[in-house]
């Protein structure tokens, strides 16, 4: 008797639970706590709401894995997290824009869910460009490489203004209107700061004269949050000029417009395609795939997404149009300029461990000082900022630390990759110290480029690296 009652009760509970699981996965239920009107409206503007069949794909259909593939586990985890956030946090303080970046979106969109509905990656009306991209996806997945649907279709769930996934042929073709068009480069007669002018454009930028000297490169073992590759040694550098700020989009686009080529070449046809190389003409970047500026805006923000090769080609082009010798900095020059005579973790006073509290009981970080000098995770978790957002270092250089990491021409020891320095908007306080080192990751940064062959000009998956130009001086320097 009790057994039967138990059975019936159990059945009711299970049935009820099933109901509860469904009831707590409706759009209304989601919206009852997730108070983010912008996400709701962008969802309603998106292609998964206004589907051709009239069916509205709901929140839980993309933001939870398919049933039977970890649905309940994930539901309990995210449900728990959401309830906690709802009690303890103020949703108006969330950076919703940051939550929409690919990096963050990958954590709450499930590929298994995408392909559960989109079983056929090659529908009859798929374009040739789409076919090539899906073929790439198929071959990569078969090799065991993880590729996300939203790497290319980030706007599938929520509408994103001006989102492009595809060859962006129109990129940067419109020239900025300016009053002044420089007819010649700047005249430099002494080893002093000057303003370089790009002939034929309205673009100029500040170059800072850095007298040579000897300094201690790397960091002491006692430095908080130090990495083992920051070995200390005495290094001497000659005098050089270095740009006040990272190469801006305005500067970079001048190069792009002047040298961009639409066609792509291949060297696999043997010598019958060997044509005379015009050594004087610099062939520049092909159109990017997607939006290299990530829709963050261009102008004075640092140019990003360009490959190391593209940055080097930019320097060659700049040298040609100005008649001077521009290049990427070597690592020692970079750190010398960044430190600007300081030997502390930053070029201003402060303790990395106090700026960045690690661990659950780390307490609240004291970030008032670092916030005024560096764009890093603490004040710009999701994107680059314009140089005016920070104060300069003692030698007048901005954003040496943070904002975007910068290419150096050295090879990082033990790899075939180039050194990058300075950390970026993605790093914590420990990652933007003057001694922090890192290197390029060519394969990973091209992972989602579906073009064949992959672009040598644009990284499809790296938005936190830019560069700064250095100019050699032939002027006699008195020390």
């Amino acid at each position: 008797m009790w057994f039967v009652i138990g059975l019936i009760a159990g059945a009711f509970i299970l049935f009820g639970l099933g109901k509860a699981v469904d009831a707590t996965s409706t759009n209304d239920f989601c919206a009852s706590c997730h108070v983010h009107p912008q996400a709701t409206s962008s969802w309603k503007q998106g292609v998964h709401y206004a589907t051709q069949s009239g069916y509205h794909v709901g929140c839980a259909e993309c933001h939870l894995p398919p049933k039977g593939q970890g649905y309940l586990v994930e539901k309990i985890k995210t449900g728990g997290r959401d309830v906690w956030s709802n009690w303890t946090k103020d949703s108006t303080e969330f950076d919703w824009e940051a939550a929409s970046t690919l990096e963050r979106a990958s954590k709450h969109v499930y590929n298994s869910t995408c392909v559960k509905c989109h079983e056929n990656l090659f529908p009859a009306k798929l374009t040739r460009e789409g076919s090539d991209a899906h073929l790439y996806y198929k071959q990569m997945t078969e090799k065991g490489e993880e590729l996300q649907c939203i790497s290319c279709h980030l706007n599938a769930g929520h509408y994103i203004k001006d989102y492009v996934h595809g060859s962006n042929k129109g990129f940067g073709l419109a020239q900025k209107q300016t009053d002044t068009i420089y007819t010649s480069p700047a005249v430099v007669t002494s080893f002093d700061n000057f303003i370089e002018q790009i002939p034929g454009s309205g673009i100029s930028f500040h170059m800072i004269a850095i007298p040579g000297g000897t300094f201690t490169m790397g960091s002491p073992e006692s430095e908080p949050l130090r990495n083992p590759d920051e070995i200390q040694r005495e290094v001497s550098v000659d005098s050089f000029f270095i740009a006040e700020v990272e190469v801006t989009w305005d500067e970079y686009m001048e190069f792009y417009r002047e040298t961009a080529s639409e066609g792509r070449s291949t060297d696999t046809e043997g010598s019958r395609l060997n044509r005379k190389n015009d050594v004087d003409a610099i062939t520049g970047a092909t159109p990017p795939y997607g939006k290299p500026d990530q829709n963050w805006g261009m102008g004075q923000r640092p140019a990003i997404s360009m490959s190391y090769h593209a940055a080097e080609t930019y320097c060659r082009w700049l040298s040609q149009v100005t008649g001077r010798h521009y290049r990427l900095p070597v690592e020692a020059e970079w750190e010398y300029a960044c430190r600007a005579g300081t030997e502390t973790p930053y070029f201003f006073e402060g303790d990395p461990a106090k700026f960045e509290k690690r661990g659950l009981f780390g307490g609240k970080a004291d970030t008032a000082v670092i916030n005024t000098y560096i764009i890093y995770r603490g004040n710009s978790p999701s994107k680059t900022q314009e140089p005016m957002a920070v104060k300069a270092n003692p030698w007048g250089l901005k954003n040496m630390s943070g904002n975007v990491a910068e290419f150096c021409s050295d090879i990082y020891e033990g790899t075939t990759e180039h050194v990058i320095r300075g950390g970026s908007y993605r790093d914590g306080a420990g990652g933007v110290r003057s001694a922090v080192r890192d290197h390029t990751r060519t394969d990973a940064w091209l992972k989602t480029d579906p073009q064949m062959p992959k672009s040598i000009w644009w990284y499809s998956d790296c938005f936190y690296v830019g560069f700064r130009v250095v100019m050699d001086t032939e002027l006699k320097i008195k020390n």
């Binding site: 529908p123 009859a124 090799k143 696999t268």
Partner: protein, 440 residues
């Protein structure tokens, strides 16, 4: 390249592709499990009956006409209802030949010009048979599949990597639409080859350690220019001698043998280093000999040779070596001492009851029987990927010989190389016409 799930899947895909209706390919047939009993694909002697199937032939030369005849004789209720070619004389000769077999094609169903394929596809056919020079194949397959047509296509299927990827994507589209794509790599439909393949899969020669393949023959046909022809017309009429039209003979002809190696090993080449040259070919820009060292997945070396020069030693065959024995891939397996372990015994018998080496049904007929059977039984065959990979394999050899450089699978798969002029019109042809010279 590591042995990844993909190679095994391809391999099984081929197994499925090799047969016709109701094939059961147990999942235990993989190269990791030798000695398992291999169930060979069922190949019927005649395709089953069904509602009338109308095919359009695109490319009405010798092979196209042959394929059309193979098709209509594959079973009951099959016909050719439209013809397309760039040349009217080709249409006329094909029409005349088909009439001898009782197939009449109306004037309004005969289309000429570079867009004839589009008109054939739109003429109300269920199936297209594609037999133009291979440079046109990717575009034709793409159009046919997008229009929901089943496809029989001659090998090779492309002359460049861009075309190979177009074939791969069309093949995937066809899967989604449950369309059949059968290709003219007819050894997959040849009883003796299929039976031998089964023995190798069962482990009769052990693990495969190396392989060789050959297509060495005399000079192939060619045409001299004719003053009344434009350059484009001349090149197409002389197509087996021009690299942009045929892909060169390492692909155009030798793809058959490379395809057998890919099929029997269940692997594909990772890299290739190739020699080649042009000694005696009278027209065009192609080489007339290639010798290629392919390295396959797992470090297996495969040597491939092809030649089209008169008065030399000829040989068209494959050879595969394993840890326990060897096979000619066609009908015989030997042990390491040269003792015969197995020989195919399904050939026709002669008047005295002795076994010949002739098959009762030619593979050219069998491939169409299997094609029609797959359509009528609703069990689509899709050989697009396999033949695209074989074509790409041959292409590695060509590019390596032309450049003198090592060429990898990944390089070729990712290459933007596209041969031929940007647009097809009768008139001068804007392509390089010099013979490639390797090295610097």
């Amino acid at each position: 390249m590591k042995k990844s799930p993909i190679s095994r899947r391809n391999f099984l895909g081929t197994a499925a592709a090799a047969g016709a209706a109701g094939i059961i390919v147990p999942s235990l047939i993989t190269s990791c499990k030798p000695n398992a009993k291999v169930i060979l694909p069922v190949m019927l002697d005649k395709a089953p009956d069904g509602p009338l199937l109308k095919a359009g032939l695109i490319g009405c030369g010798g092979r196209g006409t042959g394929a059309a005849l193979n098709f209509i004789h594959a079973g009951p209720n099959l016909t050719i209802s439209a013809l397309g070619d760039v040349f009217t004389d080709r249409i006329a000769s094909c029409r005349e030949r088909l009439a001898q077999d009782g197939v009449q094609i109306a004037d309004e169903k005969c289309f000429t010009g570079f867009d004839a394929y589009q008109k054939v596809i739109e003429s109300g056919v269920d199936i297209v048979l594609l037999a133009t020079p291979p440079v046109f194949r990717p575009e034709h397959v793409e159009a046919a599949v997008s229009a929901g047509k089943h496809v029989f296509m001659e090998k090779p299927v492309a002359v460049d990597p861009v075309g190979v990827r177009q074939i791969l994507a069309s093949g995937e589209k066809a899967k989604g639409m449950e369309l059949s794509i059968v290709t003219g790599t007819q050894r997959h439909h040849q009883h003796d080859y299929v039976a031998t393949w089964g023995k190798i899969q069962e482990g009769m020669i052990g693990d495969i350690v190396s392989a060789n393949c050959y297509w060495n023959q005399g000079q192939l046909w060619y045409r001299e220019p004719n003053p009344s022809w434009t350059e484009m017309e001349y090149m197409i009429r002389d197509w087996v001698n021009w690299s942009w039209l045929s892909g060169d003979h390492i692909i155009e002809q030798h793809v058959h043998n490379i395809d057998v190696i890919n099929w029997f090993t269940g692997k594909r080449p990772v890299s290739a280093v190739s020699f080649g040259s042009r000694q005696r070919r009278p027209t065009g820009d192609q080489y007339d000999n290639f010798s290629t060292d392919f390295v396959y997945e797992g470090g297996i070396h495969v040597h491939s040779m092809c030649r089209q020069i008169n008065g030399c030693e000829n040989n068209v065959s494959e050879w595969i070596q394993g840890t326990k024995g060897t096979s000619n891939c066609q009908n015989t397996v030997w042990d390491k001492k040269g003792e015969q372990l197995w020989k195919y015994d399904g050939y026709k018998l002669d008047a005295e009851g002795k076994m010949t080496e002739d098959l009762a049904i030619s593979p050219y007929d069998q491939e169409h029987i299997d094609f029609v059977t797959s359509i009528r039984t609703g069990k689509p065959l899709n050989e697009a990927e396999f033949v695209a990979f074989s074509t790409l394999s041959g292409m590695m050899g060509r590019v390596s010989a032309y450049t003198g450089k090592l060429v990898t699978w990944d390089e070729m798969m990712n290459s933007e190389m596209k041969l031929g002029p940007k647009v097809y019109v009768m008139g001068p042809v804007d392509v390089p016409k010099t013979v490639p010279v390797p090295g610097e």
